[in-house]
């Protein structure tokens, strides 16, 4: 029964892997929806699983050293697994210990559910977790 979850559909953004929108776009000054910190959000793709883990890691690594606020945008996310959560966790934790701010934008039920299930919601600093407190 549970395997049904594996068939969760890939949304439209599935193709724009983080790697695909790499440095070229970063150099392009067009940062449409910049936050107060002036940084464009790091959008997670619809599929964040072990298959995409390498590109996710690369995308995260590029923003790891950003001094300003990094916004993780989870709105497109439809499916996530342990491998991806682990990378996000490392990212959030490393930035936190270096004193660099990270925030989440948008709720993805898949992310909330998976993080809660694995007991990682607090460590990831997901907003729902903090609001619940």
């Amino acid at each position: 029964m549970k395997t049904r979850k594996q068939q969760a559909p890939a949304g439209k953004r599935a193709h724009e892997g983080p790697a695909a929108r790499g440095p070229s776009r970063r150099r392009g000054a067009a940062a449409p929806k910049s936050r107060a910190a002036g940084q464009r959000p790091l959008a997670l793709t619809a599929e964040c699983t072990v298959a995409e883990a390498d590109s996710l890691k690369a995308a995260l690594a590029r923003r790891l050293e950003d001094a300003g606020m990094v916004t993780l945008d989870a709105r497109a996310l439809l499916r996530i697994d342990t491998a991806a959560l682990q990378l996000l966790l490392a990212f959030v934790r490393d930035r936190r210990s270096a004193g660099r701010p990270t925030e989440w934008r948008g709720h993805a039920p898949a992310l909330d559910a998976a993080a809660a299930q694995l007991g990682l919601a607090d460590l990831l600093g997901l907003p729902a977790a903090e609001a619940g407190r």
């Binding site: 682990q86 934790r93 490393d94 990270t102 709720h107 299930q117 903090e130």
Partner: protein, 696 residues
């Protein structure tokens, strides 16, 4: 939550539970492919009213969940989404989850948020699938915003579960390569959460800096806790695929050990966060998340107003006996009061009348404590049959009859598991696959029938199917190969059928997770025997089989007709009575010897003279001066000759065997309102006793 609203909570819960029952029933009736619009409307209305109610009362988690559900149901209602098996599964699970949430809120206990958010996720995905675009976003955002428990309450269920029972403590430490082998701890934990409220504590200490992380390796470990009521086997099964790829310890810990371990997790907001630097980086909550719900006050939950308590049967028996004594005392007092003369005699009699009424109520209440309709057991089957049929790819219709038959609660509790075994067997072994059935000229859909009735002072519960029946050849061959039967022995059908009750006996080549491990039927028989009952099987090749469990009524209510013979009173169970009539002398024919028959609607029925059978002096021996009760038992009809009919009443059966001994034709005794003892007739037994007498 204002005080004004709380007074309506009970009504809300009651209505919601009823509505959920209705929703479940409607879901089970829902045809895949061509759903009945009215059924979908019923289901939708339930979700809608629960959503409205829970929002009104501030149960935001329920409101949020039902909102997602409603969105999905709306798609079904408008026909933009087809009803699939997977979808109706999802909806059934939603019913379970809503029920669990309502129960939790009712008991002022934390909601199992993981299970809820998990399922909510599934619902969102189902909705999203239809639209192909990431459409769930608005709904999801709204839903998640009012779901404060998504992670916040994750440690709470364990505290709740730990309050009274031992727990399973599971240490799950995956090896690095677990992920690469296609296992995902997320799936494993989700499956565990499906077994019961799961407390999760992640250990991320092994996770290296991002740059050093190999994305395909697993660096996390978990400490998990499940309530002790979950079967260890079930837990191990979840980890079956990960075996060899992880370190796994599963141990049962008593509640005292858990309590201190849990305390910090429950008290401190985020104890798992390892570095103290945690607060250094601001993690602002999104504006939407500010809409927090009032959290249920878990701390004051305690035991609260749970719906029932468990009481030992001995205590109720004691109560029952005391009430019996009271009835006699009360009858004695009434007798005395009727002779009383004096100024206060009227008042005394009024008081005694009141006492008598109260006594009757008390007696009925105590009786009702022990009696429950068998529907309590039956009600679990529609869902089970549906799920099993689906898993085995069979089409099965379940028929339930006699659900209102009341039986002793102890019997009821113990008959559940044997019935589950029998029904499983019927589905797994009995009913053939649709293809086989059609090839055999049967409708593709098999039928499993559950029936309960009072039969001659017993309760008979039947499980029958229209499947292939028992395969005698195979049973015999298997028995021979196991040395249970000598090669030259020839057995009767009944003896062959008996073999299936031998411990460890199974003819199935391949055991499934449903049945076939050979631990079914002998356990069934043992359980039934423990209740003092028996189980019989009848089977016809190609036509199906029928298992009949007969249980004695140690204690049951029977609607009875009290009849008088001389000075004695007897109770004839109403269920066996066809009709009662006055005889004309001409209607009776005396056959050779002593036997008499009466002509009844073109049929001749033997007459049983109760006074002769029981050696009582009757008011009259002339048949036309008394009455004849035409009764039926084991398919035979007889006329029972009595002096008079007294009245109909519900009586408590007291076991004669336990207090005296077995008498053929009598199923038990009861204490009447006046304190006298009346025997309850067992019509089939009576017929046997009478025919033995006639033959003698």
């Amino acid at each position: 939550m204002t005080v004004d609203l709380t007074q309506f909570h009970d009504a809300f819960f009651e209505e919601s539970f009823e509505a959920l029952d209705a929703m479940e029933a409607a879901l089970l009736k829902l045809d895949v492919g061509s759903p009945d619009a009215e059924l979908i409307n019923t289901i939708f209305r339930v979700a809608h009213s629960i959503k409205g109610g829970s929002a009104t009362f501030g149960f935001s988690e329920i409101a949020s969940f039902t909102h997602s559900l409603e969105t999905l149901l709306d798609e079904l209602r408008s026909g933009t989404m087809p009803v699939t098996v997977a979808l109706s599964d999802l909806l059934l699970k939603s019913v379970d989850v809503m029920r669990a949430m309502l129960r939790a809120v009712q008991a002022k206990q934390p909601i199992d948020s993981q299970r809820v958010s998990d399922l909510q996720f599934d619902l969102e995905v189902a909705i999203a699938k239809k639209g192909e675009s990431p459409a769930p976003a608005p709904v999801a955002a709204a839903a998640a915003a009012v779901l404060p428990g998504a992670s916040g309450a994750q440690s709470a269920p364990a505290v709740d579960a730990a309050a009274c029972d031992p727990s399973w403590r599971i240490r799950f430490h995956p090896y690095r390569e677990l992920l690469a082998r296609g296992n995902d701890p997320l799936r494993i934990l989700r499956e565990l959460a499906a077994l019961g409220p799961l407390a999760v504590q992640a250990d991320a200490a092994m996770l290296p800096a991002l740059g050093d992380v190999n994305p395909q390796d697993c660096y996390l470990a978990w400490s998990l806790e499940l309530p002790g009521t979950v079967a260890e086997e079930a837990i191990r099964q979840v980890f079956e695929w990960a075996e060899g790829d992880c370190d796994l310890t599963i141990e049962k810990v008593p509640p005292e050990e858990i309590a201190p371990a849990q305390q910090p997790a429950a008290a401190a907001p985020a104890p798992q966060t390892p570095p103290p630097a945690a607060a250094a980086a601001p993690m602002p909550a999104s504006p939407a998340a500010a809409a927090t719900a009032p959290k249920p006050e878990a701390s004051v939950s305690a035991i609260g107003d749970s719906g029932s308590i468990r009481v030992s049967v001995e205590k109720i028996d004691e109560l029952m006996n005391t009430v019996g004594e009271l009835v006699i005392t009360q009858a004695m007092l009434s007798q005395l009061g009727s002779h009383f003369d004096g100024p206060d005699a009227e008042k005394l009699r009024a008081g005694l009348g009141q006492l008598e009424r109260n006594m009757r109520e008390l007696q009925e209440s105590v009786m009702r404590v022990r009696m429950l309709p068998i529907s309590f057991v039956f009600s679990r089957f529609p869902r089970m049959v549906r799920d099993l049929a689906q898993r085995l790819g069979k089409q099965i219709e379940l028929k339930l009859t006699g659900e209102q038959t009341e039986l002793d609660k102890t019997v009821l509790e113990k008959i559940g598991d044997p019935l589950v075994h029998l029904v499983r067997n019927c589905i797994d072994h009995g009913i053939e696959s649709p293809e086989t059935r059609v090839a055999g000229g049967k409708p593709a859909e098999g039928t499993v029938h559950l029936d309960a009735c009072h039969r001659g002072g017993n309760i008979a519960v039947e499980v029958s199917d229209d499947g292939g029946g028992l395969d005698k050849e195979r049973i015999l061959a298997k028995a021979r190969s196991r040395g249970l039967v000598g090669p030259a022995d020839s057995l009767t059908d009944t003896e062959i059928h008996e073999l299936i009750f031998v411990p460890g006996f199974s003819t199935v080549e391949k055991t499934t997770d449903v049945s076939g491990r050979g631990v079914g039927m002998d356990v069934v028989r043992r359980n039934v025997k423990e209740l003092g009952g028996k189980i019989e099987v009848k089977s016809e090749p190609g036509r199906g089989s029928r298992f009949t469990i007969t249980l004695p009524l140690t204690l049951a209510i029977v609607d009875g007709q009290s009849v008088a013979v001389g000075t004695e009173t007897y109770i004839v169970p109403l269920i066996s009575i066809v009709e009662s009539m006055q005889l004309k002398a001409s209607g009776v024919t005396r056959l050779s010897g002593r036997s008499e028959v009466l002509s009844f609607r073109g049929d001749y029925l033997p007459i049983i003279r109760l006074h002769e059978l029981f050696g009582v002096e009757p008011r009259s021996r002339a048949l036309h001066e008394g009455l004849v009760v035409v009764a039926e038992g084991d398919g035979r009809r007889v006329g029972i000759f009595v002096d008079d009919l007294l009245g109909q009443q519900q009586v408590v059966i007291k076991s004669l065997e336990a207090n005296y001994g077995h008498i053929e034709g009598v199923s038990g005794a009861t204490i009447l309102g006046d304190g006298s003892v009346a025997l309850i007739l067992d019509v089939p037994g009576l017929i046997r006793a009478a025919s033995m007498r006639a033959a003698a």
